[in-house]
């Protein structure tokens, strides 16, 4: 009962925040609304017993992606004019509508199999055992580190001034 109430509060706040991201004229306020949306999504993860995913959501999305977005706004020219419409308005509306139709169709047409087992709780410790123990996914973890290395070097190469 409490879980359902929490879920609905989170869901309503997330949808309202997401709508305000789209409808706000002020880009900076839209970014702050997006951060609120990220936080409520983390709350929804907690109600689904995905506590590690919630921590990652807070750490990466609320902590880092929002910094990137706000920095991008700081670098935007004439940002005080706000979120102006341009000639891409109609194509964007078409693409958005098509994407919405595809998503709604996929969500409603898929038969969602719900596992009979109750979820692990907390999830962080079993996940660590899976990733770092001797017969765990050690190689994929190291490949993930290589991917990060590629991202860092890519960022250096792209942003370096000649």
């Amino acid at each position: 009962m409490g879980l359902a109430i929490t879920f609905w509060i989170m869901a309503v706040v997330a949808v309202v925040a997401a709508l305000s991201v789209v409808f706000q004229r002020n880009v900076f306020r839209a970014a702050l609304a997006l951060i609120l949306c990220f936080i409520t999504v983390a709350g929804i993860y907690i109600t689904l017993s995905a506590d590690f995913l919630a921590a990652v959501q807070i750490l990466v999305y609320v902590g880092a992606i929002s910094v990137l977005i706000i920095l991008a706004i700081m670098m935007t020219k004439e940002v005080q004019k706000g979120n102006l419409a341009n000639k891409m308005e109609i194509p964007a509306a078409v693409v958005g509508t098509v994407l919405l139709i595809i998503l709604v169709f996929t969500v409603t047409a898929t038969s969602w199999n719900i596992a009979a087992e109750s979820p692990l709780s907390p999830t962080t410790a079993p996940l660590a055992t899976k990733l770092f123990s001797e017969n765990g996914f050690i190689l994929p973890v190291e490949i993930g580190a290589v991917l990060l290395l590629a991202a860092i070097i890519g960022a250096i190469v792209i942003t370096r001034e000649k």
């Binding site: 990652v56 910094v67 962080t124 055992t129 770092f132 991202a151 860092i152 250096i156």
Partner: protein, 123 residues
């Protein structure tokens, strides 16, 4: 387990109520005529927020700041790997420590590259 998160939820509710009350209390006090309303430029100035800007406040910042944000993002994603390992540190033992050392070393190469290429210096 979920009860612990309930405490965090309770904390969030307290945070929202506290910050709302900090805004609402002065408004109510003014409506009740307890606080006199004599606005003047000095009283209305944003003295807590530093010096008032000269010219436009929304200036375009240097692109170089974005690079630091990107580098920070890579470190943040590294923490995603380190966090579950740190939670389960005692049970996982020495093998996982070596794994994590290799992990950090691989990512560190990128930072050494950045350092050697002098991209962390501000010109």
């Amino acid at each position: 387990m979920l009860a612990n998160y309930g405490l965090i939820g309770l904390f969030f509710i307290v945070v929202v109520l506290f910050s709302l009350s900090m805004v609402i209390i002065p408004i109510i006090l003014r409506l009740l005529k307890i606080v006199p309303s004599h606005p003047n430029p000095i009283k209305n100035s944003i003295f807590e927020c530093g010096v008032e800007t000269i010219g436009k406040t929304w200036v375009q910042f240097n692109f170089r700041y974005y690079f630091y944000a990107l580098i920070f993002l890579a470190l943040d994603v590294l923490v995603v790997f380190l966090y579950p390992w740190a939670v389960q540190l005692r049970e996982l033992g020495l093998t996982s420590l070596i794994v994590v050392f290799i992990l950090v070393f691989i990512v560190l190469i990128g930072y050494i590259y950045a350092w050697k290429k002098k991209v962390l210096e501000w010109k």
